[in-house]
């Protein structure tokens, strides 16, 4: 790649990687997997970078790439080996009192089907309007709305069950 293009790529990645990481982290709920998804997306983007001037909405395009990579990651995850080459973690009390509620919500979210979960994350965590989510996922607006309603309903049921179980 020409040095000037590579410099532009470097600047683009530096300015966008945390935002992309946030999307991936919310979709996957795991820092390592989010890093993997973003790294893979950006590596593919590097290969296509010389053609990117043809893309009207570059941010939207890269956003779509990350979302699709996260969906692929989720499908691959069940067959993937967990390498636990990490230092032993230390159990410490989190100063954040909401951590358990977040865990419950995240766990309930992960149990949803891919489409519902993705729509909910993009709409409520990434704060994207219905139209943009529809574009991003290649769905009709009505379908996005239907996934949202079904997802919220399923989430509500799961959270009710989890709360009941923890009180039992």
């Amino acid at each position: 790649m020409r040095p000037d293009r590579e410099e532009a790529f470097l600047q683009y990645v530096t300015s966008r990687k945390q935002r992309l990481h946030r999307v991936a982290y919310h979709l996957l709920g795991d820092r390592d997997r989010a890093d993997d998804a973003v790294q893979h997306t950006l590596t593919v983007l590097y290969q296509r970078w010389s053609r990117m001037h043809e893309v009207a909405n570059l941010d939207g395009y890269v956003h779509t790439m990350v979302v699709h990579e996260c969906l692929r990651d989720r499908r691959r995850w069940l067959a993937r080996v967990h390498l636990r080459a990490a230092p032993p973690d230390v159990p410490v009390a989190a100063a954040d009192p909401e951590i358990e509620q977040r865990m419950l919500l995240r766990a309930a979210l992960r149990e949803l089907p891919d489409r519902q979960r993705t729509v909910l994350v993009l709409r409520f965590l990434c704060d994207l309007p219905v139209l943009e989510v529809a574009d991003l996922l290649g769905l009709a607006e009505g379908t996005v709305k239907a996934h949202t309603a079904k997802g919220l309903d399923a989430l509500r049921r799961r959270l009710d069950t989890a709360t009941t179980r923890s009180l039992a």
Binding site: E6, A34, A86, P88, V90, A93, E98, A107, L125
Partner: protein, 385 residues
């Protein structure tokens, strides 16, 4: 549920991305080069086929090609790697203190547990996806099934897989080790996201006992010796700790200038673990926090109380184990070294392994690990003593 049901998650601190832009560019360049090379090779192959066809048609006598033999492999030391094909594709492998039993989580299907020992090789699949954490000299295996919030501990004892009981009020339990008596140690996540070290006595799987800590401080247990001594950590700013079978307990002081840490392995008169240990400020999704570099490792002599920092290598991963003579097995994803105060000895990589990882060590010097080649993962054993 409020208007935006995810408000609580939007407030969650998202950890920083660890993606390195320059590494992305390096990978991107490598991919581009590979693609070009493949294209060139394809073209070259086509040319070669044409030339070959012409040559064949002309039937010219050709000199007999000199056979190219494999490159001689480096001499295998006494600590050479031996494959363990009976374990199949392996995600993680552990060994008991004597080196007789080896247990693995398979990297295929529902990840059954495979145990190889004097009685042959057996597969346990009653509970899928158990990540093995330890095996003892009777073939009893302990492991965890990771779930969305943390993990659930199991023991496979006498061919039966049992979910380990939780202390009253605990949300889940995670196991770390089992000794030759069959006692199991680990920790329990209690309400408020605090953790307590737990021991399950052999056969009393539904009756966990919390290990005592000063003022009921939180704690975790990582290793248990054959005689019942347990090592772990105590406190939110963790301190290495030792529980003795007589009910007494005491901190293991880290080396001077390297505060905080934990003891994770115990063998003979020795314990080892990370020190200079600072927990990350952002918890992982499971509520636990990993250490932030630079940490280092230390070895305690439990008889004399002496502690020695181990500065042998820039460790980023950890130790694979501790031998009964005090040798520490230092491992990361590229190198494995046996450390003693007299010096270090490198452990040879399995032949043709791209990446490899030492995952366990017996007290007597049998090491086990996995070699990783693309999606392939195979178990290996080293006999180093």
């Amino acid at each position: 549920m409020s208007e935006n049901p995810f408000t609580i998650l939007t407030r969650e601190p998202v950890p920083d991305s660890r993606v390195d832009e320059h590494a992305v560019i390096a990978r991107g360049r490598a991919r581009v080069r590979r693609r070009r090379a493949l294209t060139a090779a394809g073209a070259g192959l086509a040319v070669a086929v044409v030339i070959g066809a012409v040559a064949f048609a002309q039937q010219r006598p050709q000199p007999r090609p000199t056979p190219v033999g494999p490159t001689p492999s480096p001499s295998v030391s006494a600590c050479g790697a031996e494959p363990l094909p009976e374990l199949g594709p392996t995600a993680w492998v552990v060994v008991d203190g004597s080196g007789r039993y080896i247990a693995a989580s398979q990297a295929a299907g529902d990840m059954p547990v495979v145990v190889s020992g004097p009685g042959g090789t057996h597969t346990f699949a009653a509970v899928p996806r158990i990540n093995v954490a330890g095996v003892n000299g009777s073939g009893t295996v302990v492991g965890n099934v990771e779930n969305d919030s943390d993990a659930d501990g199991y023991v496979i004892d006498g061919g039966t897989t049992v979910a380990l009981g939780r202390p009253k009020g605990a949300l889940n339990v995670r196991v770390q080790a089992v000794n030759d008596t069959g006692d199991v140690v680990g920790d329990a996540r209690m309400p408020g996201n605090t953790f307590r070290a737990v021991v399950w006595r052999h056969g009393q799987w539904s009756r966990p006992q919390l290990l005592p800590t000063p003022n009921g401080e939180q704690s975790s247990a990582y290793g248990i010796a054959a005689d019942g001594r347990i090592v772990g950590s105590v406190g939110a700013t963790p301190q290495p700790y030792l529980w003795s079978p007589d009910g007494t307990a005491r901190p293991l002081p880290p080396p001077t200038g390297k505060p905080g840490g934990m003891a994770v392995d115990i063998a003979g008169d020795w314990a080892a673990g990370p020190v200079n240990y600072v927990a990350n400020s952002v918890p992982q999704p499971n509520g636990r926090r990993a250490a932030r570099p630079p940490m280092t490792w230390a070895r305690w002599n439990l008889r004399t109380g002496e502690v020695v920092p181990i500065e042998a290598s820039p460790l980023t991963v950890g130790t694979a184990g501790l031998l009964a003579d005090g040798t520490v097995v230092l491992a990361d994803t590229r190198t494995v070294t046996l450390w003693t105060e007299a010096g270090t000895t490198p452990v040879p990589a399995p032949e043709s392994a791209g990446r490899w990882l030492m995952t366990g060590a017996s007290e007597r010097g049998t090491l086990v690990g996995i070699a990783i080649d693309g999606d392939q993962r195979a178990a290996f054993r080293w006999a180093c003593r």
